[in-house]
């Protein structure tokens, strides 16, 4: 069952096209993340769902009802703002109970529900404090409590961790996920941090310049990026310039990277013509030392620099044809600068995208 649906939503601010035919379907109870670089339209998408912006065209449905032109207060969404937006002149209790009072609950019922929220978010004892007397983490939990206490259909979180320090971030992230699972509330979570998105989401929508470019599980988005933008935005990657030599099979292409022959796949769908310039994208962790008997997809070169990052050994390799790649090898591997290494990437890990996409990205 789809809880939130956006259909071809367009939104422009003057000349800036903030949303360009955005369509998403968020399933009831899932944690759905909108991921993309700053300015790609994530906040605007949330604001359209919450009803703070009215789309230029397109439709918004919540729980099957067309809410495109409904006011924010008629939608039953609850948003946690990036800066929390706690009312400085109201105590924690007053902040949290605000929505309940509007709904006309009895005094006792309000007390009970606020108590529940305080308990849930570990805020007991702080109800008389004012927002300015709270730490960042506490403020955030108050904002969450305020949103959750009204039992919204949809919880909207706009970069909820961005105002926390690095140490707190990890903890709060876990808290949000476990809370979401516990309550089973449909949640749309906005972030620009791909690692954060990967770790918490049921599904991710990747946005680029106002468009949704891919929707899928973290696994799909990471392993089958549909275009160059997604491929390079998710995690680190090496990009090499190549030319398509031939289509070996339905899936497989052979490309030439300045003399180096590689087999790779085109996850973007649609065929790649022979002679087409392509971006060859290989993740550092897809590269490993080649075995003696492996003969294809071998990338060979001199080690320029080695840095041990702890969980991985980062190796920079010059290919001799002007290009270089970075590989993540197991930390126990012994590699030294100046040494010659043979690396291997399986053809499924070598991804090919038309070079046109790259140029488009560069211009943006």
């Amino acid at each position: 069952m789809d809880e939130v649906v956006l259909e071809n939503v367009d939104k422009a601010f003057g000349k800036v096209k903030a949303l360009d035919r955005v369509s998403i379907k968020v399933v009831r109870g899932e944690l759905f993340t909108i991921l993309g670089p700053s300015g790609c339209g994530k906040t605007t998408t949330l604001r359209v769902i919450a009803g703070f912006e009215i789309p230029d065209s397109g439709r918004v449905y919540i729980d099957g009802v067309d809410v495109t032109f409904k006011k924010p207060y008629e939608r039953s969404t609850a948003m946690v703002f990036q800066n929390y937006a706690l009312w400085p002149h109201m105590s924690v209790f007053d902040n949290i109970s605000y929505g309940l009072k509007l709904r006309g609950y009895s005094e006792a019922e309000i007390k009970r529900r606020v108590g529940w929220a305080l308990e849930l978010l570990d805020l007991k004892g702080l109800e008389k404090r004012y927002p300015l007397q709270l730490s960042g983490g506490q403020q955030q939990r108050v904002a969450l409590a305020r949103a959750l206490v009204v039992e919204p259909k949809v919880l909207l979180l706009d970069e909820p961790l961005s105002n926390l320090d690095a140490r707190l971030r990890l903890r709060v992230r876990e808290e949000i996920v476990s809370l979401q699972k516990k309550l089973g509330i449909t949640t749309i979570y906005v972030t620009h941090d791909q690692e954060e998105a990967m770790s918490i989401s049921d599904r991710i929508a990747v946005m680029d310049r106002g468009r949704v470019v891919q929707v899928g599980t973290p696994w799909e988005v990471y392993n089958k990026p549909v275009n160059y933008f997604v491929a390079t935005f998710m995690g680190r990657s090496n990009t090499l310039n190549g030319i398509v030599l031939e289509r070996v099979s339905e899936e497989l292409y052979e490309v030439d990277v300045k003399g180096l022959k590689l087999y790779g796949v085109a996850p973007g769908g649609g065929g790649l013509d022979r002679g087409l310039n392509v971006a060859v994208v290989i993740r550092p962790e897809s590269l490993r030392r080649a075995g003696e008997d492996e003969k294809v997809n071998i990338i060979e070169g001199f080690v320029r620099r080695v840095s041990l990052l702890g969980y991985t050994l980062q190796v920079r390799v010059d290919l001799g044809n002007g290009a270089s790649v970075t590989a993540y090898l197991p930390p126990k591997e012994s590699v030294e600068a100046g040494e010659r290494v043979r690396l291997y990437a399986s053809p499924e890990e070598v991804k090919l995208y038309p070079a046109g996409e790259v140029e488009e990205e560069m211009q943006a």
Partner: protein, 603 residues
């Protein structure tokens, strides 16, 4: 495309606001239309039905035009043991006189104001703090009496001339007639340019100056090539206001006995008329001309600055301002030119108190300290009634002002729909529209046609229109204070409320107003003070029915109608001293509340 259609616009409008807010807005706009827009249109169109070639021909004759000019530029008379030099300027007729005075005053105030602002903004000298504090004193309202004090200083038998004689100079100087008006208005109005310029200079990012300095500009060069151009909006805003204020100033011409200027013409003809039919077409046209100049200026501002600029005055500077040690020449300028000028400029306020607390003031020094003047005003029924009227009118007007100010500031700041800038323009426009034109418009509109003889006809009931005019004229002060407050309230605080189920009106009343309550209060206080000291509408409409007249009319009456100044100056000064006291309390309170110096522009 669909989003450009009327339907989409309306849908968007009602998406952005809800019914109560729409009502508040409709109320505000209706008020402005009824009390400002239509009356002003009447000033333009009303007299046109009576205009004839003969009337227009009249503008080429005395008193509107005097050619050749009458009187003398300067008179030197030999008084035996000394020579008396009287500077007076020739009378060129009502229209040229007004334009010449306004232009000259604008020029002089701009020079003085920019000079003073530069000194305060850029030089660190002993007494700078005192200098800054004193420079706002001339902006304290002392209706009419300020000019009478300046007449006492510069005019016939004035302190200046007597001081020169007692120094044994052999010369004595008097500034009278138009020359006196020019000097008086310059001294009264330069702080407007000063404050606006200073605000602008303090807002110039110091790094811009540092960059220029880095490239080799310094001293005066730096100031004139970078700082001043960047501060030009402030200078322009200030001088523009001065031009308008000068054109409608009644006080200085009254004190210096100049009849041939536009404002005096308008007021004396209205006071003479007992029926709207008797009002001469010529003065109605004059009021229209006054308005035309103001509107032209308004257009200039709208193109080159924004009215908002008026609203965003002195914030005390966000940056660490760059200050320098003055050179010896600069020291001389500061202490020998600027300081004496400043002292003369605060003489009206000092003089008001002197008059108020003395029995007589004929020579250089007053004589006989007394509280009688205050006792007198509280025994005079007319004064007591007028004071009561003023407080009541201002209080009622204030209720309107707060509603309109909150509604329009909220709308302009928060609701982004087409037409918002027009609304902004409309609600801020009373800052620059001459009160006399409004008064004339109200008079023409509401005392004739179907409204003649009704409750609202100012000839039978000026009270209602006085209150409504106060509300419109003085609302921008509250609107801009509310607006400034709203800028401090993050929009997300409201959205969080709407998101939880509160309507826009509910959010406005439950979240926004509590957060900006102090701003509303501060703005309201300023508006209240300005209602109490309003002159143009009070005098024009108050004259129609003295028992409904506010206090400023009574001051005017004391200083003119046959009493001929004299002892009555002391009584008028006592009333003004009371008003001065109210102002000082209000200003200290607002400064305390808003934590920054609030510019009070609308002299």
């Amino acid at each position: 495309m669909a989003r450009n259609s009327i339907g989409a616009l309306l849908r968007r409008f009602f998406f952005l606001i809800d019914a109560p807010l729409a009502l508040l807005l409709a109320f505000t706009i209706t008020m402005f239309v009824l009390i400002l827009v239509i009356p002003l249109l009447t000033v333009f169109l009303g007299p046109s039905v009576k205009v004839s070639l003969e009337v227009l021909e009249g503008f080429r004759r005395y008193p509107y035009l005097a050619w050749p000019p009458l009187g003398e530029w300067v008179v030197v008379s030999d008084r035996g043991d000394y020579k008396l030099v009287i500077v007076r300027l020739k009378d060129l007729g009502v229209i040229p006189n007004t334009l010449i005075v306004a232009s000259t005053v604008t020029l002089l105030t701009t020079i003085v104001g920019v000079f003073m602002a530069s000194i305060v903004a850029r030089y660190d000298f002993p007494g700078r703090g005192l200098f800054r504090a004193l420079a706002v004193i001339p902006l304290l309202y002392t209706p009419f009496v300020n000019a009478f004090v300046l007449y006492k200083v510069f005019g016939d038998g004035g302190i200046l001339g007597q001081a020169m004689l007692s120094l044994g100079l052999g010369y004595s100087l008097e500034l009278t007639h138009l020359a006196g008006v020019i000097v008086a208005q310059t001294l009264m109005f330069w702080p407007i340019v000063y404050l606006n310029t200073l605000a602008s200079i303090l807002q110039v990012d110091p790094s811009l100056e540092e960059q220029a300095e880095n490239m080799g500009a310094r001293g005066l060069r730096l100031f004139t090539s970078v700082t001043l151009p960047l501060s030009l909006p402030g200078v322009l805003a200030g001088s523009g206001l001065v031009f308008l204020f000068s054109m409608e100033d009644l006080a200085a011409p009254l004190a210096f006995k100049v009849n041939n200027v536009v404002p005096i013409r308008i007021v004396s003809s209205i006071i003479g008329a007992r029926d709207i039919e008797l009002l001469s077409v010529e003065v109605a046209i004059l009021a229209g001309a006054l308005l035309l100049v103001a509107l032209t200026w308004l257009m200039v501002i709208r193109t080159y600055l924004s009215l908002r600029h008026y609203a965003m005055i002195v914030r005390g500077g966000r940056w660490q301002p760059r200050v320098f040690k003055p050179s010896p020449l600069m020291y001389a300028l500061i202490y020998l030119v600027a300081a004496p000028l400043l002292l003369i400029s605060i003489s009206p306020q000092v003089g008001v108190l002197t008059y108020a607390f003395s029995k007589s003031w004929l020579g250089v020094l007053p004589s006989g300290f007394t509280l009688d003047n205050f006792q007198y005003i509280f025994r005079d029924d007319m004064v007591v009634r007028a004071l009561r009227n003023s407080v009541m009118y201002s209080a009622i007007a204030l209720a309107f002002i707060v509603i309109m100010g909150v509604a329009s500031a909220y709308f302009v700041n928060r609701v982004r729909v087409v037409g918002v800038s027009l609304l902004d323009f409309l609600v801020m426009s009373p800052l620059v529209i001459p009160g006399l034109s409004i008064a004339m418009g109200l008079l023409l509109l509401y005392s004739s046609g179907p409204l003649k003889g009704t409750l609202i006809d100012p000839f039978s009931n000026p009270m209602i229109l006085i209150i409504l005019a106060y509300a419109i004229r003085k609302s921008p002060f509250t609107t801009r204070a509310v607006y400034a407050g709203l800028q401090q309230v993050h929009q997300a605080l409201e959205e969080a409320g709407m998101n939880l189920g509160a309507s826009r009106t509910r959010v406005l009343l439950g979240i926004v107003v509590p957060l900006i309550g102090l701003n509303v209060l501060a703005g309201a206080l300023i508006s209240f003070v300005y209602c109490m000291t309003e002159v143009s509408v009070s005098v024009v409409l108050g004259a129609l029915k003295p028992d409904q007249a506010p206090i400023t009319y009574v001051i005017f009456d004391y200083l003119t109608a046959g009493y001929g100044g004299g002892a009555y100056v002391h009584v008028a000064a006592a009333i003004v001293a009371l008003i001065l006291f109210v102002q000082i309390v209000a200003i200290f309170t607002t400064n305390y509340i808003l934590k920054y110096r609030y510019a009070f522009l609308g002299l």
